[in-house]
């Protein structure tokens, strides 16, 4: 570490405020990030956020990779809901390549994305509880995150960094165990969520800790580029799933919960209500998937041989399959030139992919619009004048994920 990081400011011996280094590795930051807080007693006077501790240069790496190999990079953005990032990336590629996915693929994707949203919100909301001193809820709902991860495991074989799906669909159809586990989740989770809600929602201590802290007005939130639950808590009903539907979200009935004050309590409530909406979307999508009969019920990818790996048996027996297999594996397929921007509603808000292609094999430039990175700059404004303990709560209720901050 260079001396710049530890240099004491001028006259620091005589000063009346305390400088506190919160992070980079502190249990309350829930990730690798640093906050240099200036405290007057327990009040926060100012703060400086330092990020970049797990910067992995994904945008640079993406410039040498074929499209399919970039999916693994997107896993590691918001690692609490990797499938949403994966699907967002596939949607971006499909938009550039002009691929139309079958309805069944869209619905399967919706199931997975909503499961991921639940697991994301569930972690965030229970961590807010932990930071307020209520550990029970966290341990209780963790079982159901485990169940969600088991569903991922049935579908793609991985749990955290899922690399789920391919351009055009999924690598294999959902098996029966996956559907059984989704059913089990739909059956059991509402009861658990209700109990989790009972623990917090009208809990006097929790309400007094969260209400009125870390508040932001709708106007400021928009100016700061807030999206997702944090923006909706301030009262703006902006949701990418409704405004620019992707993956057939227009086929589903759901509400967008909004708050009014934009404080920690409203953020918690919006996430809580969104989990109920997600549950209802999963139920609808599951029903729609069950309604496919015969050959239609076997469709799990679009017909795009240039980008979708052929079955292994064909690779050994058919010439075209062998050629496509080779080209995909070696990343030899040229992608069309063009510029696309595709956004999806990730756990934290609008996750955007800006892809510039010059007609080569990998993107000329890929930029991730990470919602976390954009709204974390408002943190200083949110906690100015607040108590240190409220600053901690605000940090966790914003749902900062270090992977998404740093890319």
């Amino acid at each position: 570490m260079s001396e710049q990081h530890i240099k004491l400011p001028e006259g620091s011996i005589e000063k009346t405020t305390t400088t506190l280094n919160l992070g980079p590795t502190h249990p309350a930051t829930h990730g690798v990030m640093q906050n240099i807080l200036e405290l007057d007693g327990e009040r926060v006077v100012s703060t400086e956020q330092t990020i970049g501790y797990i910067h992995r240069a994904f945008e640079k790496l993406a410039e040498r990779r074929p499209l399919a190999q970039i999916t693994t990079l997107t896993d590691r953005l918001n690692y609490c809901s990797s499938p949403i990032n994966n699907m967002g990336w596939h949607l971006t590629c499909e938009k550039l390549l002009g691929i139309k996915t079958p309805k069944r693929v869209d619905y399967l994707r919706v199931i997975i994305m909503e499961l991921a949203r639940i697991s994301d919100h569930l972690i965030c909301n229970s961590i807010v509880g932990v930071d307020a001193g209520a550990y029970t809820g966290f341990l209780y709902v963790m079982q159901y995150r485990e169940l969600i991860y088991e569903i991922y495991e049935e579908i793609c074989g991985a749990r955290l960094t899922t690399n789920m799906g391919r351009i055009g669909g999924f690598e294999r159809n959902f098996n029966n165990i996956a559907f059984e586990k989704i059913e089990k989740f739909l059956r059991e989770y509402p009861k658990v969520l209700k109990e989790f809600e009972n623990l917090f929602q009208r809990n006097r201590i929790f309400m007094e800790r969260t209400m009125g802290t870390g508040a932001i007005s709708a106007d400021r939130a928009l100016n700061y580029g807030f999206t997702g639950p944090n923006l909706r808590a301030a009262g703006v009903d902006y949701d990418v799933r409704v405004h620019t539907p992707y993956s057939s979200y227009e086929d589903f009935q759901f509400n967008i919960p909004v708050g009014t004050t934009g404080d920690n309590y409203d953020r918690w409530l919006v996430r809580e209500k969104e989990m109920w909406e997600s549950l209802s979307i999963i139920e609808q999508a599951y029903q729609k998937v069950q309604d496919f009969k015969g050959a239609e019920a076997e469709i799990y990818h679009a017909d795009v041989p240039e980008y979708y790996l052929p079955p292994k048996a064909d690779v050994y027996t058919k010439m075209e399959a062998l050629i496509y297999h080779f080209k995909i594996i070696m990343g030899e397929t040229d992608i069309p030139a063009g510029e696309v921007y595709q956004a999806v509603e990730a756990g934290n808000g609008e996750l955007g992919f800006y892809l510039v292609s010059d007609g080569g094999r990998s993107p000329y430039r890929l930029h991730f619009r990470r919602p976390c990175f954009i709204y974390y700059q408002a943190y200083e404004e949110l906690i100015k004048g607040a108590m240190l303990s409220d600053a901690i709560m605000t940090m966790s209720s914003l749902n900062l994920i270090a992977g998404e901050l740093d890319a």
Binding site: G52, G338, E339, Y341, Y354
Partner: protein
Amino acid sequence: MSLINDHIRQRLSEKFPEQLTGFEETYGMLSFEAPRDLNLKVLSFLYDDEELKFRFLTDLCGVHYPTQQEREIAVVYHLHNMVDNVRIRMKIFAPVSKPDVYTATGLFSAANWMERETYDFFGVNFVGHPKLKRILNVDEMDYFPLRKEFPLEDQTRIDKDDEMFGRG
């Protein structure tokens, strides 16, 4: 009353005749190029205009085109009108030798870190930015890593032969 791309284009051309160029519509999004010194004027016109109302800065990033003389660095703004739900893309180009661009932080607080990120990776000097310093990379770094002159792989490696795959 929904806003269509042709109308946005017409409004912009009325206000800035002959200054905005490169209008195109790719994948449904209107995209255009503004002169470097007019970026703030165009942004605030888009922000304030009664009809256009592009008041949400979705994204700001840089792109490096080393082959374009005197316009090597592009700064790309994605703006969103949330009332009519329309997005547009504005680009400005700056020479790599003197990449000075006016900051948009006065208009959008969100631009603060996005501009720091663009400075960090492309070296764009945002004139008037309140605190233009590196954000993701270490402060001591003396180059701008996303520029194209920095290849991703070590070019001195001799254990790999890519000739057969057209990457030679």
